[in-house]
């Protein structure tokens, strides 16, 4: 079961998180970004972005190339500095946390990693425990169990001893996912986890993400495939030009005019006949462009 459990049609669903605050018993959201500004090379890549992700929620970050999706993820996990606004992880300002403490709150599945060296899969997954192992200590029983669970979950146990260099793109992506799971963090960040995968592996990877979220993790995933994002995410945040253009359920965000604005192309949104989620088609000038909704 990959599609989001609530179908995204409940009327109160869209309000959740729109104001950036949690509606769960006053708990702070796992990931809360407020008025975030990040500049790279003198240019504002993110210009006042706010969003929040609660536990048990999968939020999709969509938008055209260069919208700032990867930058946002890097600003949340601490690999990029912040030039304005705040990032809070479980109610704590990221800048007051050490990088180790950040890594115990959110784990990241990168788009690709440098795997041109012959580490066995198990070693790579074990690196997910980096934030828990002391410099002079060795891995504990708890670390080993976490690594085993993560490998089982991501279905990479069978090639635990193989070198990562011998794996296919899909298998490697699952190893990186296992590495993030091994950290056993309440938050999960995914940067285009499906970008280089075929449709079968796209679905399987997102299925794994969905399972973890249903188990209570908070996940923020940059996904460039709108239809895939609409199918699995509880909410979408549409980024363009470094700002949030729309946020809400996939149906709300995708039928919004903001979509056409953000991507600079006319779109038609219909229901996918197979799975019932919104389906976006980009239109060329010659196309008729009936609005499906």
């Amino acid at each position: 079961m990959i599609d989001r459990s609530d179908g995204g049609s409940a009327p109160d669903d869209g309000d959740r998180g729109r104001d950036g605050a949690s509606d769960r018993d006053g708990d702070p959201p796992m990931i809360a970004v407020r008025d975030l500004v990040v500049s790279r090379g003198g240019e504002r890549v993110l210009d006042g972005v706010s969003l929040s992700v609660d536990r048990g929620e999968l939020v999709g970050l969509v938008g055209p190339n260069g919208a700032g999706k990867t930058t946002l993820i890097a600003a949340v996990n601490g690999t990029l500095g912040i030039d304005g606004g705040t990032v809070e992880l479980d109610g704590r300002d990221r800048r007051e946390l050490s990088q180790r403490e950040v890594a115990r709150r959110v784990a990241t599945v990168p788009q690709e990693t440098n795997t041109a060296f012959e580490f066995p899969v198990e070693s790579v997954v074990e690196m997910g425990r980096t934030a828990y192992v002391s410099r002079f200590g060795t891995t504990t029983e708890a670390d080993r169990e976490a690594v085993e669970r993560a490998m089982e979950r991501a279905e990479v146990t069978e090639f635990a001893d193989r070198s990562v260099t011998t794996l296919s793109g899909g298998e490697r992506q699952r190893v990186l996912f296992a590495r993030a799971l091994a950290a056993e963090t309440p938050g999960l960040l995914l940067d285009e986890p499906t970008a280089s995968l075929d449709i079968n592996h796209q679905i399987r990877t997102l299925e794994l993400v969905r399972e973890s979220v249903d188990d209570g993790k908070a996940a923020l995933a940059a996904i460039h495939d709108l239809n895939l994002a609409a199918r699995v995410c509880d909410r979408l945040v549409l980024l363009a030009g470094g700002r949030v253009r729309a946020t809400g359920t996939p149906r709300e965000v995708l039928s919004d005019d903001a979509l056409a604005d953000a991507f600079g192309v006319r779109t038609a949104v219909n229901d996918d006949p197979a799975v019932g989620s919104p389906m976006v088609t980009a239109l060329r000038d010659g196309d008729r462009g009936e609005d499906g909704s």
Partner: protein, 379 residues
């Protein structure tokens, strides 16, 4: 992971035994050949256990530990194997200091080389990649060619320099200045991108190479000594040099071991490493500083011995894989054995060769053999 530690312990024990074996055999090789059993007996006879301390009215010269102190220390010698005093003198005064110096220098260069290759994710990286060896060369050559100039420059260190270790200290200072200079040039806003560091290192090496060439032109009669130093040699090793590297090399190598896990994670790329909770900039600073001091110390006592820090890590990586928790200790120990063996060869021929020539002449073909027969691990 226990399996990793089991592998580390297994390989390290085997390589340590190999190192002891190579040292013992090497101590027996030379113009006078001495059986291994006798070498062991000589070393055992030298074991001294302090059993008593006596205060004296005036300072007595009672060995390196208590020199200048009003202490007289009584030593007991638990072993007294019958060996000739000639053999004892050959092993203890002539061969062992040189062999141990080779072992420690080999350990230092191989550890630093392993770290640099991992750090730069570049198979061509060697201990001198950020200019440390070139800096040491400028320091040493300046001392040989114009000691007065070096004395003027290193004024506060004058008492140390005058004590007979001027060359080593000048080389070590040159190494540190060059390494730190490259680091400063490559750093901006508290960040030190690895690619910038690599390029800055190459540029500084080129510049310092020019300085050395210029000094060579004006070296006059000392050109032979300068050339000999630049090729890397271990002849004339003294126990005080051994004592210095015996403290510095193991201590710094242990610090590098403590960063083995960070080094593994850094291999994935810095962004990944940070996301996994590693303070990448801090780890990089420690790794760079420690391996530069290690290289500087090794070069200061032995000159620029090439290829050890490049070949040994590659060879060992083929055997044990890229995990630095296993690779670092094994490559350190293998480096020790390699340099002792190479230096034994260098000193046992008809005419003594600088060991740098031997390591390069033996190392390069071996490296090419590895390249052709097995795929060298990518980093």
């Amino acid at each position: 992971m226990t399996r990793v530690w089991r592998r580390t312990a297994g390989y390290s024990a085997a390589l340590f035994a190999l190192l002891l074996g190579v040292v013992t055999v090497s101590a027996g090789i030379g113009p006078v050949s001495i059986p291994a059993g006798t070498v062991v007996a000589v070393v055992a006879n030298a074991v001294a256990v302090p059993v008593g301390v006596e205060w004296t009215a005036t300072a007595v010269d009672g060995g390196p530990l208590t020199a200048g102190l009003p202490l007289r220390v009584e030593f007991a010698h638990p072993f007294a194997f019958p060996v000739s005093s000639t053999q004892e003198a050959i092993v203890m005064r002539v061969r062992l200091p040189r062999i141990l110096l080779a072992a420690f220098v080999g350990v230092g260069l191989a550890s630093a080389g392993t770290v640099m290759q991992g750090f730069f994710r570049n198979p061509m990286a060697d201990p001198g990649i950020i200019g440390v060896s070139s800096g040491a060369a400028v320091g040493a050559v300046s001392w040989i060619v114009a000691p007065a100039g070096v004395l003027a420059l290193l004024g506060p260190l004058r008492p140390l320099l005058a004590g007979g270790a001027g060359l080593q200290i000048a080389a070590f200072c040159g190494a540190l200045v060059a390494g730190f200079g490259v680091y400063l040039i490559a750093s901006r806003d508290g960040r030190t991108p690895v690619a910038t560091l690599l390029l800055a290192g190459v540029a500084v090496q080129t510049f310092l190479g020019a300085v050395v060439s210029y000094l060579l032109l004006h070296s006059g009669e000392s050109i032979r000594r300068v050339t000999y130093w630049l090729m890397g040699h271990l002849s004339g090793a003294s126990w005080s040099e051994v004592a210095a590297v015996a403290v510095v090399v193991p201590a710094l190598t242990l610090v590098l071991f403590a960063y083995a896990r960070d080094l593994n994670v850094l291999l994935l790329g810095e962004t990944d490493a940070v996301a996994l909770g590693v303070d990448a900039e801090r780890s990089k600073r420690v790794l760079l500083a420690v391996s530069s001091v290690l290289t500087g110390a090794a070069v200061a006592v032995s000159g620029v011995i090439g290829f050890v820090g490049l070949i040994v890590p590659h060879g060992v990586r083929l055997l044990v894989g890229p995990d630095h928790r296993v690779l670092l200790p094994t490559s350190a120990l293998a480096g020790g054995s390699f340099l002792v063996a190479a230096d034994t060869f260098a000193r046992s021929g008809v005419a003594e060769l600088p060991v740098g020539i031997v390591t390069a002449a033996a190392g390069a073909p071996f490296f090419l053999y590895l390249l052709r027969t097995r795929e060298v691990y990518d980093l």
